[in-house]
């Protein structure tokens, strides 16, 4: 299916969840609670169609055709 990620078109397998997408993007494994399996903080947040998806819901949140995802992290500033 096709989604939009951070403003760009992206193709992702049918049945993908938010967890699938975060893992694809960051290369980090995630457990069911949304924490990285390498034991370090993952430090990203996800908004789906302008609503924040709590990390505890990443695994249970299936993506749908046309979804708009924003994945953000901490950068230098202020």
């Amino acid at each position: 299916m096709n989604i939009k990620l951070n403003g760009d078109h992206r193709s992702i397998g049918d049945g993908a969840s938010v967890t699938t997408l975060v893992t694809e993007l960051t290369g980090r494994g995630l457990d069911a609670s949304g924490q990285a399996t390498d034991g370090r903080k993952i430090g990203v947040a996800v908004a789906r169609n302008a609503e924040v998806v709590p990390r505890s819901q990443w695994a249970a949140t299936a993506l749908a055709e046309g979804d708009e995802l924003e994945i953000v992290t901490a950068v230098q500033g202020g």
């Binding site: 430090g43 901490a74 500033g77």
Partner: protein, 265 residues
């Protein structure tokens, strides 16, 4: 005992029940590299540092969040770049999820030219964020009325600007900063406009609880040395404020006694 340890041991900055030995809050904007930034942060002695929230890019090398975690520096996400309360609230929600903190430095900017806070949107966003359980560090104009409003809405700290962001003009209205401090019962953090160490010392002498700055260090010719300068400036200003300065006088006042002088023919 050094001055730094005096401050650390007896005079912590307490915000929302959390104590900090350093009264210098650093920003991370403007640094050309993550390595250089890390060295400047360590030299400054900061224990609380702001970050912005932006789109994740796999190409990015190194993680700022990890750098702060590794150095035991607490992270304070900001809402830089937000022009409306709506954007600021969503950004704060993302920051809370990403960084697992309910502290947020709330910036709602009116326009890109001045980067001054938009008071109306700021008040609206403060109210919404407090209701959602955030601890709001409100970046505000140097307006004593607005600062008190923000406190009454539940802001955890008020952060009046010394001068517009990035200008390095220092504290343009010391009288207003003093007035804000005199009426506040939450911590007052002088934020923005700091150019050099004496500006930070002045902020502390005016009674501010802490100073927040970024580009004064990150864009200095020697950021590590400037970071260290600010560490001492904030301590010096705090000590001077507590020591109680002499009153200003119209005319000279000799410090040497007149009696007992030798007489010359």
């Amino acid at each position: 005992m050094t001055t730094t340890s005096i401050q650390t041991q007896n005079d912590p900055l307490v915000i929302d029940g959390v104590g900090f030995g350093s009264r210098l809050i650093m920003g991370t904007g403007g640094a050309p590299s993550l390595d250089g930034l890390g060295a400047a942060l360590i030299a400054s002695g900061t224990e609380l540092t702001t970050v912005a929230m932006r789109r994740y890019s796999p190409a990015e090398t190194g993680s700022l969040f990890q750098l702060l975690l590794d150095n035991g520096i607490r992270v304070l996400p900001n809402t830089a770049g937000c022009f409306t309360a709506k954007d600021a609230v969503l950004t704060a929600e993302l920051a809370r999820e990403a960084l697992e903190t309910n502290w947020v430095k709330l910036e709602v900017i009116a326009d890109e030219h001045t980067l001054l806070p938009d008071a109306v949107e700021l008040v609206d966003a403060t109210e919404q964020l407090v209701n959602r359980g955030f601890k709001v560090f409100a970046y505000t104009n140097d307006d004593p009325v607005l600062a008190l409003r923000l406190e009454n809405l539940g802001a955890t700290a008020v952060m009046p600007l010394g001068a517009p962001i990035g200008t390095g003009l220092g504290i343009l209205n010391p009288h207003n900063i003093e007035l804000i401090v005199s009426r506040a019962s939450v911590p007052v953090v002088l934020d923005a406009g700091i150019g050099t160490a004496s500006d930070a010392a002045l902020a502390m002498e005016l009674g501010c609880d802490a100073v927040l700055l970024a580009t004064a260090v990150t864009r200095a010719q020697n950021p590590v040395q400037m970071g260290e300068a600010f560490k001492h400036a904030v301590v010096a200003g705090r000590l001077a404020k507590q020591a109680g300065r002499i009153p200003r006088r119209e005319h000279a006042l000799a410090s040497s006694a007149m009696e007992g002088r030798a007489e010359f023919l």
